[in-house]
Symmetry: C2
Subunit: 385 residues, 2 copies
């Protein structure tokens, strides 16, 4: 096992009727900006519930944060923070709203020239506004981590930053809030979380038994509950298990002390930036081919994955790995996320060219746990996708 | 799944050479009291390493905290805190030193008449000194939780308290520090951690798949690595896996949203108070019989345990449960922790009388996840032990 630091100070309030509890935890004299996305938190009453819980607080609202939250929109929120002298942010929505709110928190306190530097130059986040969140969509894990991914429309960039200063202080996870999600968002969320786990798990073995078994436990849970969540959308336990799995998938825990390979995400981000695909769609396209191409480097863990997740114990190594990759693809399709570029009307050659060009522009030319996923390998992956 | 709050702000520094890193995190102007137990941290150089790392800090030392740390000793440390105007505590040792230091942290700031009230009356901990720890013995999980168990020699009491104010700020977990532990402490540590997990796992099902699988992952890891740790004491990965399992066993994670049954601990504490047995010895005596006696109430989870941990899929329910309990007992014996009162020269009838009397004195007359482990049931368990 490798050495590591693990720190995660977010308080999770899990279950129903937690929004009132959250309100008690926000300082009484805070000037709050509630941030949210589209209409669903209005339509299904969550925003009203938040307003009611905060009736003794001073708060303002900022809506319209889009999926793949944009720098352009978020800088409007930063202007609102300054205008209303906001000192606390409360995100209500899915990973995009939480990610966007983390950027608002950091950008509002940024003393450099342009807050975009936090993303493009990894300028340090010296200070950030405190934030909490109420999660309505289990997927990204953003609710209890220190990462955010932000897009810029003007040049089709999609970049990430991380800082311990943007951990949410409190995160409300109420499984009933996911009952009204469109099927596509649950599909995407389960696939996104599943791939987060694989990117921390499918590298090479370092004898980290706890991390491996935790990762496998989450994978098995998503495999069991994902299809059930589509079939019976208002089953509390199914939604609770998915929600908690998605949080655990990216709160740092399964990734400590082990190598990681975030190349699927890196390639996926460029696909979203170039073609506007959903985040999870890009991952479902890239991952199966990437595992195929990197099968030698990932051999030991792929065999462990084949055995412990898919019960594949017989046949040659090669066959078990093929089967495990095939079953992974089938699971994404069963979750109703298509796994080929062609399914989205995208030409593979065009994708390879565009993605390679932007990865080079973003200096991401040595991806993967061995840094051997070069632009040439990425091109090969996309041509096979 | 039940609703829950999960919060764990302790920063874990895992691996070698982390003590210097910890020193950087303690405020430069802190007045530190280093707390420790017996001679092993002196003998094996850990205390020297701490002194060196803190050479720019102001620090004092307090040694002699015993296993099952006593109120009497700890109140001497509280006097030292006051004398030297200490404002930061640094525990160096195993769970007893960490537990004891948590009590010192709370008692030093206690404004009531007698800090013993924190234990006997569960007087609220309004304030506590900040503390960190350097763990040398994987077992209790105290390094990243908010619990402590303290004994009082004068009346043979052993009681617990909990407060979010006594979470260690930072915890150094260096597996190499465990190489020099006597075999008995590793044996005890593995058994203690194993039973912590079972007490959060073997109750009744609430469809909390992540918590169940995390618990199972920890159990399997301890089963594999425990005997190996006895055979090859200086294998880094084995010790690392045990250390991380023991921390995860009681950092709150596997216990959220599920029923718990701490009756084995409650009974065990009384056995230690009455006969001076090691903590883990008492648990290894009580647990197998308790599972046997409570087999109906715990049936579903016992069957899951039998299947997922011991691979028992054939035969009648009754037989699989018998076999799982038998194998659990065998594991403790393989870890060289004896599982019968007679092995320690204790008369069962005497133990039943003494333990029942003190449980009644401590108002612990309805234990277990169903509160159906009454003094009569406890007596039955001990007579069978």
């Amino acid at each position: 096992m490798e050495s590591f630091v693990f720190y995660n100070p977010t308080e999770v309030l899990f279950g129903q009727q937690q929004i009132a509890r959250l309100a008690e935890r926000i300082p009484a004299d805070a000037r709050i900006l509630i941030t949210y996305g589209g209409g669903s938190v209005i339509r299904f009453g969550t925003l009203d519930e938040v307003r009611q819980a905060l009736h003794k607080h001073t708060f303002f609202e900022f809506g319209g944060i889009e999926p793949n939250p944009s720098y352009e929109t978020l800088m409007q929120a930063v202007a609102a923070v300054k205008e209303h002298q906001i000192d606390y942010l409360l995100a209500v929505g899915g990973g995009s709203v939480v990610d966007g709110t983390k950027f608002i928190a950091a950008a509002a306190c940024f003393t450099g020239d342009d807050p975009w530097d936090i993303l493009s130059k990894q300028a340090p986040v010296e200070r950030a506004l405190p934030l909490s969140c109420i999660l309505t969509l289990p997927a990204t894990g953003s609710e209890t981590n220190s990462f955010a991914v932000i897009s810029r429309k003007s040049d089709h960039s999609k970049l990430a930053f991380a800082s311990p200063r943007v951990y949410p202080q409190h995160a409300v996870l109420d499984p009933t809030k996911t009952y009204t999600l469109p099927e596509r968002q649950i599909s995407n969320g389960v696939v996104d979380a599943f791939i987060h786990i694989l990117e921390q798990y499918l590298t090479y073995p370092v004898n980290a038994k706890v991390q491996d078994r935790f990762a496998e436990g989450l994978l098995l849970t998503l495999l069991e509950e994902g299809p059930r969540a589509l079939a019976t959308p208002t089953d509390y336990d199914i939604r609770a298990n998915i929600m908690w799995s998605a949080t655990m998938a990216l709160n740092g825990l399964i990734g400590v002390g082990v190598p990681q390979d975030w190349s699927t995400h890196a390639i996926g981000h460029e696909l979203t930036a170039a073609y506007g695909l959903d985040h999870a769609q890009t991952l479902a396209i890239v991952l199966p081919v990437l595992l195929d191409v990197q099968r030698e480097q990932k051999k030991q863990k792929l065999l462990q994955y084949a055995e412990r997740i898919w019960g594949l114990r017989d046949g040659k190594d090669e066959q078990r790995i093929n089967k495990a990759i095939e079953k992974t693809r089938e699971f994404f399709e069963m979750m109703r996320v298509k796994t080929h570029l062609a399914d989205y009307g995208i030409n593979a050659k065009d994708a390879a060219e565009k993605v390679v060009a932007s990865l080079k522009r973003h200096h991401m030319t040595a991806l993967g746990e061995h840094k051997d996923i070069t632009p040439e390998v990425v091109a090969r992956i996309l041509l096979m996708a």
